[in-house]
Structures are given as C-alpha cells and as structure tokens.
Amino acid sequence: MAPSSLIFSVGLEIHARLKTTQKIFCSCANHYGDAPNTNTCPVCLGLPGSLPVLNSEIILPALRTAVALNCEIPRLSEFSRKNYFYPDLPRNYQITQYQRPLALGGHLDLGDLRVRLQRIHLEEDAGRSLRGSDKMTHVDLNRAGTPLMEIVTEPDLQDGQQARGWLTRLRQLLRYLDVCDGNMETGSLRCDANVGLSGPHKLAGPWIELKNLNSFKAVAVAVDFEIKRLDEMLANGVTLRRETRAWDPRKKETTLLRVKEEASDYRYYPEPDLPLLITEPEDIQAVISAMPELPHDREKRFSRSYGINPAEAVTFCRSLALGSYFESCVQSLAHQSGNDPTDCGPLVAKWVLGQVLEAVGGKDDLLPTLNLQPKKLAEILKLLVSGKIHRTRGRLLIQQVLNANEDVCIADLCLSSKSNDDEDERLLEELCLRVLVGESTKVEAYKNGKVGLLNYFVGQVMMLSKGLLEAEKVRSALLKKLN
C-alpha cells in the first residue's frame, strides 16, 4: 500500500461532567452509582408543570475551565432546547446551548501542537438506557439533568496517538482545575471523535463521527483504524459520505450507525424558561485571581526549583497527588538536611519514581493514604544524604515503614537495625570466603595479574547476598582478602 498523500484531520467532542453536588437545573444529587431512579424530582423527570432553574454552583467551574483554556467569554450566553425523542430524555428535549454558548475559541497545546477549540457550552445530560436480560430497555434517570460541559475542538489533531495525548492533557487540566474527575469508567468524561480530510487535498466536507469510545486507548486505536479505512477507500476511488460510526472494541473495527444525510432536525430555539446567563468582567477577574497553578506552569516551576529535568517534571506533574507528594518530600528533606531544594530534588525523584510508586502500583490517587508519607521518606533520605545509612538499608527501612500498621519512628528502626549491621558484617565475611574458596582457579588468575576478575568476584557476592550488601563494602572486603 503506497503511503497516502492525503492529510487526515481529527477533531474531538468531549463531554465533561462537572463536579457539583447538585444537578444543573434542580437540587437532586449529582452522584454516580446510586440505586436507579433515586436521585430524581419533578424537574429532572420532566413532570407536567415543572420548570428548570439554573444551579449557580456550575458557574464558577465552567468559567474557570473557559479561562484556563484561553477562551473568549461573551457577556451573554443563552440556553436552547434541542428537540428529539429518546427514552432516556425525560422532556424529549435537551436543555443545551446552541447559538450563544458560554465560551468561544480557546486552545490547549500538546507540546508544540496548538489544538484550537471551537467552543465550550453547558448542557444537561440525559439518563441511561440499559438493555436488560428481559430484552426490554431499562431507563435510569439518575444521570438525567447532571451538568455537562461540552468542549469541541477544531480538527487540529492528525492521528490517534495525538488524540490520546491531547485528551490526557485535557483531563489533567480538568483535574488540576478541580472541575471534573475525568473518569471515563464512571462516565465523567466522554469523547467522540470526528475524522475527515484537510490540507491541500481537502475534499469538501465528509466527516466521520466516531462514537462508543470508552477509553483513551480506544480513541487512539479507533481513530487510527478509521484513518486507515478511509485512506484505503479513497485509494480505491470510493466516494465518501458523512457517517456516524460506532467503535466495536471486540472486533476492533468501526461499524455504520447512521448516514448523516438523514440527520435529525433538532428545531433548536431559545429556552423560554431560563433567563440569559450574564458573565460580567468582574466574574472573570475573580476566576483569574483564584486560578490554581496549571500543569504547564507547575512543570516549569518543578524543573527550575527542584533541579529535575523537564521530562521528570512532566512525570511528577501528571497528577496533583504525585506532584504534591514529590514537592512535600523535597521541601521536607531540604528543611531537615539544610541542603538546597535543587540538590534534594534529584534524589527524591529517584526514590519516589522507584519504591514509592511501586508501593501504590503506579496509582497516584493512592499516595495520600500511603503508609509512607513525604516527611517520613525525607527522614530516611536524610540519613542517606548524611552517610549514616547506605542505599540498601534505605530500601529496607522504606519497606519496614510500608509494612508497619502504625506510625513508626525512623530512629527506633535504625537502633533496632544496629544489630543488623553486625549481621551484615558476618554475611559479608561468609559470602566473600564462600566465593573465593569456590573460585580458587580464578583467584589464582587474579593473583597472577588478572585484576579485572575482582569485578567478577564482587558480582558473585552481590548475587548471593540478594542485594542486602553494599557493592563498595563487598569490593573492599574482597580486596583485603585477596591481598
């Protein structure tokens, strides 16, 4: 298959559920996982006579997001009705924002790639339809009326990997802003992708809308699959048409859901039950003043202040929990040891990326409840820095703290391990003798000038000690014995 000269473009449409306590137009709980149809009221059920009232709780998070994404926020925005029939839509119209959304434009960069946004708007979510084992459709309206922010990008992405990378960046930002928990598993974040053509070979229009993308990985794989499928079709001279396709994760292919020409007419018109949403300059200013540190800035600051390289900074800033853990530990170590944070950073980095992350199985959100908290780790690292313990002892101490059921005092642990030092000495003696006695031929060779064999002996002892001994100590002990 000859490489395509066509340039594909990918745009994303993200629905992020805002982390509010109540739904967008009523005071029902905005909570996932409750028994079906227990968080409902006349408003979100669309009972005759009920009226929507905007929950002011949604305004700040929505504005914070729009500001952080560099959007333009018009003074007035308006709610609209999107009319269509579906079992999980109680009023058979969705209250959304059509012609005058909350925010326009904006961008979020992925490295050097600037991905522009079209708009951000507010809307209510529909309920959930589930196919029962009785072949009936069961509807749970707990989700109906929960607040969504719809974020639409321009088609500035080019392939599945980029899409995935950008989504990761967006989710990170939403979590930093504390507006959305970004969990696709619980439906707080949903994503559809649009794949089409752009560039000098741009053909007027047809877009493929991809749905049922249930993970970031699915987004990447589905987009790449679709690009390849379209590329082949075009190479075979097939005319494209606008379609909505669903990703099948088992068969790993996209299937046709509907042809876009048959798209519904939603008969959008302004929602008469809700007044215009007014955003004054003071509101935006207040959001700017209270803006938390954003990922990009935190990465730069970590790199600058803690002596780590940009790539490590990106890793530590991947979540608030990991960044906080790292930062607390560096600051604590700097305080305890009197050293500069830029000197403490790299050491802390090594240990956090190693044993600490291992202990939580790579799950950053488990860090705050880990047995080994930053200050304690700093205590252990301080002993290392001051030469009071060696690396292996450090690993052991950390393991002991992790295994302990209650808070342990490092000093006590060290005392109790004084006897371990004697044991280490005995072990060192024993293993060195064992190796040298067992390798008498090589010992002879060493004594005859093959000094490189020392490394071999060290290696043998290290292997037998299962990492309990310090390499330097082994080397000097062997040297003493050999000479």
Partner: protein
Amino acid sequence: MTSFRHMSMHAARAKQADGGPSIASMNEEMASAARNENPSLGAFTHFIEDRGSAGAQPPLAGFSGAIKANIAGKGWPTHCGSLFLKDYISPYDSTAVSRLRAAGSHFLGITTMDEFGMGSSCEHTVLGQVVNPWDKSLSAGGSSGGSAAAVAAGLAWYALGSDTGGSVRLPAHFCGVVGLKPTWGRISRNGLVAFASSLDTIGILGRDTLDVFEVFSVLAGHDLYDATSLPDPLDQSPLEIPKNLQGQTIGFPRQLDSMKLDDDVSQEFEKCIQQLKDLGARVQPVAMGGILDAGAPYHVLNCAEAASNLHRFDGSLYGRRITKESYLETLEQSRTKGFGPEVKRRLLLGAHVLSGGYQKQYYLRACAARQSLVQDFHKLFAKIDLLALPTAPSTAFSLGSRLEDPLAMHSVDTLTVPASLAGLPALSFPTGLDRRGLPHSLQFIGPACSERLLLQSAGLYEKHIGFRDVKEAPWHRLP
C-alpha cells in the same frame, strides 16, 4: 333562604362578621350546590374537596376555590383536559396552589378546559363539556371555561385559570365575571403545565375586582422554582378604590373599525368610553401601530412552543401509554391516540414553523413582530396610563357555531393576544348586557406590574355601574 352564592368573598366575610352564616357553612352549601348543578353545567371534571391547611386563617380564610385542570395540586388529577393525562395524579403542588393553601384557601374541584389550553370556546374538550351559565346553548369561552362558569354560577368563590392568549379574559367576558391576566412572570408558573412558556400565565377569575386582587396578592411575587418569576417586590397594602379617575389618561384605539367589532360590541364600547370620561379620566384615541395585527405572530409562536412543551408526553414515565413492539411505534400510537385534533393540528404547525428551512420564514419573523409589538406598547404607555378596548369582537357565541372554521374561532382572540405577546397585565370586567342579555366586557391593559392600577380603575367602574345587581345574571337565577 337568602343565597350568598352571588356574593363576593369580601362581602361574605363582612356578612359573617355581622352575625351571618360562617364561611364553613357557606362552603358546605356551595359544595352541595356544585354537585347538584354540575351535571347540567359541566364546570367541574372532578370534585376534590381538599381542605387545604387546617383552620381558616386570613386572608382567604377557608373560602373554596376551583382550579383549572392544568395547575398541579398534590394528589389531584391534573389532566389538562386530555385523554393522555386522564389518569395522571400530580405528585406535587404548584407554587400557586401551595400559596393558596398557606393563605387558608380550600379547594372544591378541578375545572373543565380545552385540551392543554388550546382553544377559545371550551369545545376542544375530551374530558367534560362546559356550557355558559347565562345560556346553556352558548360557549363559556376557553380555555378556562370551567373556571369562569363555576364563578359565574356561584359554585366557587374564585377560580384559577391560565391565560396564554386570552384564556382567562375571554371566558370571564363570556360568563360575565372578572378575569385578570397578570404580567408575565408576576405569578409563578411552577406547576402550570406548559403550553407556550413565554406566553403562559396563571390567571384569576372572581366575582369582583376586590376578590381578584386578594387572590392576586396571595399568588404574586418571586418564586425560587420559576427562574422567570419577577423579583419586583409586591405592594401588599389593601386595594383602594378611588373616588374618581381624575389624573388618569386612558387611551383607546383610534381606528375603531380596525378591531372588526360586532355592532353591539362597538356600541357598548363607545358607551364605556363615555363612562370613563364621566368618571373623570382623560380619555384619548391613540394609534395602535401593529398592536391589532398580533394574531399571526401569536399563532406561530404558540404552536412552536407548544410543539416543544408537549414533546414530553410519550407515555414512558406517566400518562396513557399504548404499548407496541418498538419504542417508536409506542410513541406514535400513544401520541396519536392520546391527543385531540386541535392539539395535533398545533403540534404539526409548531414543528413546521421551527423546522430547518422554515424557521427563518415563520418563527424568527414572528419573534421580530413580537419585539416590534413590545416597542409599540412601550411608546403607548409613555403617553397613557392604561389602554381600554373590548375583550373580544363579539359576545358569547353558540356552541358549534365556529368549530368548523378555525380562522373564525381565532378571530375571537385578536383583542386578547396583544397583551399576551407583550407580557403585559390585562383585566377583563363586565360592563353591561347585549341585545340577547349576555355580558359585555371592557378590557384594560397596562404597563408591566400595573395590576393594582387596572384593578383600582375597574373597581371604580364596577361600583358605578353595579353589574353584580343585573337581574339576568345567573347568580340571581340560582335554583
């Protein structure tokens, strides 16, 4: 036995204070009269006998009201005059009903209405059939016909209706009682089943202006459950009827024939103008601009909004469901069989005027016409305090006479829709009788939140002509 059923609430209260029968006993007699007479009148579809909250505290002190079937009450059959909701019981109180409860009101029954409020003669009914208490061959007006008939026939002390294009004022006019459409947003719409949201209001029907004012004072004011309810504070002081209308400038349409009035309506209107002058007002003809051409934009807008508001009726959660194999078939059958022909006609029209390709031509143009009308009123009220015009071009017409002719039917709305489109308060009150002995009414329209002014001025007129004493009135011919 002296009947009190023609009395207003304030007169009955005075009578009770004077040693007369208790309100509770008056209610009992009214309730049993309602049960006896309703079969031949059809004002009520259900008797609910809801005692409200315990005790008879002011201001409504145990008086029982009649509530139109599209205003939700907890445990009540809020059927909206539709087969679709025939068995629907509302699980919550509308704000209006809860405020009436808190004010001591009792509730006697649910009144007959045109299906979902779509109608001007109460002939587009599938649940119940109401006739005019003055002459049972005539329409009681719509869509709040049952409410108006109940008040006129002395079967309830006051009634609530809904007015979207005239549905309280018109039946008030046909039945010879007072009907108020408040400023849009003045009375909470929470619990009023939506027909055309930007036009819908809860309206009040009563035997005189003072009673209507009392109920208005209980209902009006900001509500957290209605985002469009006006935050303006309410003047709670009692209504004071002035000695005369001096200092007031009242306008009336300069070109009388532009209103296409029946001859006797025209004559009555000219008498009213003179009467207002005699009462001391400065009365002047005014240019109406586009105000009297509101029919077409009103029709486009009410159908468009109704189409969307009635989308929710699919039988899935509540209401009558006709179950078929698929969701779509169930939806189609339930709606086709559940809605009457007038409703279906408006839903189809509404979908059409909002659809892609037609929205610009119909819906958006109607919106622009509406904005223009608002400006016309604004200019008028810079020069006058109130606008006076008849409530309708004709008095009550015979049942069946306009059913086959939608345009003739809609023509009865031409003088009520302007205030609806502009969201302004409007009051209809009876002024005299026509050749057939049927009520004539006058309509006052005022600027936003001028309900007090409308009621005061009408109150004086009312006192002056003594319409309540008219012997042909049904409340003087009680069985």
